[in-house]
């Protein structure tokens, strides 16, 4: 049931307004805080207000403008998008609080820029989540690239600028591929709107490369172009280079990159490609997802191995993201209902656990200036709350039951079995163990090595979000059967996707 509703636009507008207000009046600390927090909460309110209806099967539509005929900017709230928006707007609240605490020492000008662009990024993320068609998605995807750039180079050091350049080259390259894919899809299907089971399957006319109807080879090309394009942001393995470099940015930005928006945007884009552009039926006939699955496997294992080799905490975190985000891709490429649930659900699972870890890494750096893992001796005793949260997140990634990560692991393995692909189940198990191999030593060091040096208290503005996010990790792992909580949303989203196939 489709309902015209301006709320998606409102959610976007709140973030945009926040950005403008911050830019305009943000030189006052109080106003900056007020705008940022107010917008974060307000937007969360708007987004969550869409939830009950969406769960009841309503789809909110709001077409803004159609500029080339048939191609326009519009918003459409389906459950998958809503889920993503919920995750990012929840995390935005925490990140804002954290950032207020984290950035306190910085110059006003830097802070204004930071909070302004941060709000823009979140606006872009909502745009991605609620995009009605591939073009809208692409627009906000690129907006995200553009708006994260000032954040990545926030420190304006040569290293930051270099990382920023690398980030731009990678993401713009990816954006270019997406654009190419966009053109190919538009040409092949004649439309870009989501919300039909497989745009290409539905509207396949002629192949973009000439030569009669759309064949497997040309579809493969489109698939590859789109997946690689989105894969850059999702940090799929050969395209992940920007992610570790971007670690020079301040911690809230890393959180944004890894948990709130950027990497997720890539993964979400791939979900859209699979579920909305190609559609399950078409993909089931073709064999592309097999390739994607192996790409994901390479990222999962390779990312973990690279993470293992890092001695810098944030770099290790970065590489582990490479590994963990690919769970989403692996799950999505398995093409069965269970795996679909987890592909969506992992957006939240990874987000909350990873953001916890980044927050802790930032708190450590803020409190003691330590960035290397071998400097963390005994820090668990000096910052017990933070490190406890860190441990929870680490255990979640390892896949300890009752935490969010277990749910992911359980469902991916189940999905792999349903897809008759036991080797992916094995990959998940190995990946969980690899996570243990590189996270547990950190935890161990923090707790069981003698304390060295003095660590300043990070304060409640930092500690609060850390604890809250860690609590969310537990919550996500244990609240699967409560209505309107994340898991039920994810599984309802998956059900809708598959129900369309069944029809």
């Amino acid at each position: 049931m489709e309902i015209v509703d301006p709320r998606p636009l409102l959610a976007l507008g709140i973030s945009l307004a926040c950005a403008l207000l911050v830019f305009a009046t943000g030189r006052h600390y109080g106003r900056r805080v007020l705008w940022s927090m107010g917008a974060a909460l307000l937007k969360f309110g708007v987004v969550i207000s869409l939830l009950p209806g969406a769960m009841a099967g309503e789809v909110y539509l709001f077409r803004l403008v159609e500029f080339p005929p048939g191609v326009g900017i519009g918003f459409r709230v389906d459950l998958m998008g809503l889920f993503f928006a919920l995750v990012s707007s929840t995390l935005w609240i925490f990140t804002t609080i954290y950032a207020i605490g984290y950035m306190r020492g910085e110059a006003d000008r830097a802070q204004v820029r930071f909070f302004g662009f941060f709000a823009l990024c979140v606006a872009a993320t909502v745009g991605i989540a609620f995009a009605e068609n591939l073009l809208t998605l692409f627009i906000f995807y690129e907006l995200l690239t553009v708006c994260t750039y000032p954040l990545v180079i926030h420190k304006e050091t040569p290293a930051a600028l270099k990382a920023g350049r690398k980030y731009l080259i990678y993401t713009l390259g990816g954006g270019g591929l997406v654009l190419l894919g966009l053109v190919l899809v538009q040409h092949a299907a004649g439309t870009l709107s989501f919300g039909q089971t497989g745009l290409l399957a539905a509207g396949a006319h002629d192949g973009p490369l000439g030569g009669g109807p759309l064949g497997g080879g040309q579809l493969g090309l489109i698939f590859a172009v789109l997946v690689l394009g989105f894969g850059v942001k999702a940090a799929v393995m050969p395209l992940h280079g920007w992610l570790p470099s971007a670690m020079v940015a301040p911690t809230p930005v890393s959180a944004l990159l890894h948990a709130v928006a950027v990497v997720k945007a890539g993964a979400f884009g791939i979900l859209r490609v699979i579920y909305d552009i190609f559609g399950l039926e078409l993909l089931a006939q073709l064999n592309f997802t097999q390739a994607l699955a192996w790409l994901a496997v390479v990222s999962i294992i390779g990312g973990s191995l690279l993470a293992w080799r890092q001695v810098n905490l944030k770099r290790r975190l970065a590489y582990s993201t490479v590994s963990q985000v690919s769970y989403i891709l692996l799950a999505a490429s398995l093409l069965n209902p269970t795996a679909t649930v987890v592909a969506i659900m992992h957006l939240a699972n990874q987000g909350f656990a990873k953001i916890t870890m980044f927050f802790v890494a930032g708190a450590i750096e803020q409190g003691s200036g330590r960035t290397e893992i071998n400097q963390l001796d005994g820090i668990g005793r000096q910052m017990p709350w933070s490190l406890a949260a860190f441990t929870v997140a680490a255990l979640s990634f390892i896949g300890v039951p009752l935490l969010a990560g277990f749910l992911t692991k359980w469902l991916v393995i189940l999905g792999a079995l349903e897809g008759e692909a036991w080797w992916f189940a094995a990959v998940m198990v190995i990946s969980g163990l690899l996570n243990a191999v590189y996270w547990l030593p950190v935890v161990y060091r923090a707790y069981f090595r003698p304390v060295t040096g003095v660590v300043a208290d990070p304060g409640w503005l930092l500690r609060g979000p850390i604890i809250a996010c860690a609590a969310f990790v537990v919550l996500l792992g244990t609240t699967a059967h409560f209505h309107l909580l994340p898991f039920s949303v994810a599984s309802e989203a998956a059900r809708v996707i598959w129900a369309e196939v069944a029809n």
Binding site: T338, V341, L395, I398, G399, V400, P401, L402, F406, L407, K409, W410, L411, I413, L414, L417, E418, W422, A425, A426, V429, G432, L433, A436, L440, Y444, F448, G477, T478, A480, H481, F487, S491
Partner: protein
Amino acid sequence: MTQPQNIPKIPAAGYELPLMLLTGLIIAGCWALIPGALAGRAPEFSLLQLAPGAWLLLRIDPLGVLFTATITPLWLLALIYSRGYIGTAHRDRYYLVLMLSLPLALGVAWAGNLLTLLVFYELLSVLSYLLVVHEETPTAKAAAAKYIVYVLVGGSCILLGVVLVFYLVGGQTFAAEPMLHAGLGWGYLTAIFVTLLAGFGVKAALVPLHGWVPDAHPAAPAPFSALLSGVLVATGAFGIIRVTHQVFGVELLRELGFMHWVSPLAAIGVLAAAVAAARQDDLKRRLAYSTISQLGYITLAISLLGQELLVGALLHISNHAMMKATLFFCAGLLLRRAGVRRVSEMAGLARRLPWTMAAFTLAALGMIGVPPLAGFISKWVLGMGTLATGQPLYLLVFMGGSLLAAAYLLPVVYIAYFREPVEEEWKNKAITERGAGWMLIPTLLAAAATVILGVAATAPGLPLSLARVAVSPFW
């Protein structure tokens, strides 16, 4: 020889007594379940849905009740013992984890389905890391690292197996009827069996997956060594019972013939670990190997798929828990009171620590299987079961294991009682049991339990009767 610690009185943390009371209540609660279990009732409680169809579910069946009734008292004993043993360093953490591990162990026992079993089992295992590493000495850390690697790999195996079962037959509750059937195909069944057995086998110290045991036991504080050996390892065996009898079922296993591979493995474990135990000088290491050997008994008994044998296995779980706890308690006393870790350093210690060595002797005899102590009963049942299933060859293994147990435990007793101490080493040392009441009392209680479990084995409500009730539905 390390310096004996002339321990100044350990200041109380203040919460020991409430904890003991709480534990006492839990024990009482567990025991209160016994009548219901004897009547064959198995109430179920759903806790939480983790994933679609994957419920956390408690089902208090006789098997679980037996397990909890046997193991919960060990927590009380360990708590009391800890009051005298654990220093002030990391004490809060120690008690916190110890108390948390109790409900988790209950969860393992009462797990209503495989997922629940996995969840509690994993949490218990991971949590135990903090107890193994408790003393934070380099050896403890190394042992803990080894432990966590084994546990995680094992846990991953279990996870795979559990998901496989879930995929094939859904989140079924444990019941008399086995979950799997031959129609699922040989490949799946093998995969499930291998992953689950390997996973639980790690915990149950099944040779060759036992590597962590001889390191973790000596490293852990004595009260936890007792729990480790008596309970945690037993959870592995318990898991194996669940898998063999409630996931696969006896008939299916017979049909598949997996047990032809497991039994010899377990038998080798019994004998090899016993031989290895005899070669250890470190007392706790020796006891650890003994654990491996004894758990081999249990696994072997399970793998032979006989009703009586299973009764024996369950009986041995509880008896062994009690006896091994006694032994570890004694080892802890020796360490704390005389500073002795090694068997060779124990010469003449029985004069200074008479109660300790008395308890040790009792438990050692029980372990060897001297009637009428607890160990005898379970070994008797096991032996009879072996004959009943027509596999007399394994009777030899059981007997060999007992003989070897004598070979590695009796020398300890002998040295402590009859070898003359080296005079210089005794000078200026106040080796005494005075003031060791907190440690001594649970030791003696456990030793007494060894006797009671032997003498009154057939009393209703004690393990034997419970085990028969618990096992009967499987045949």
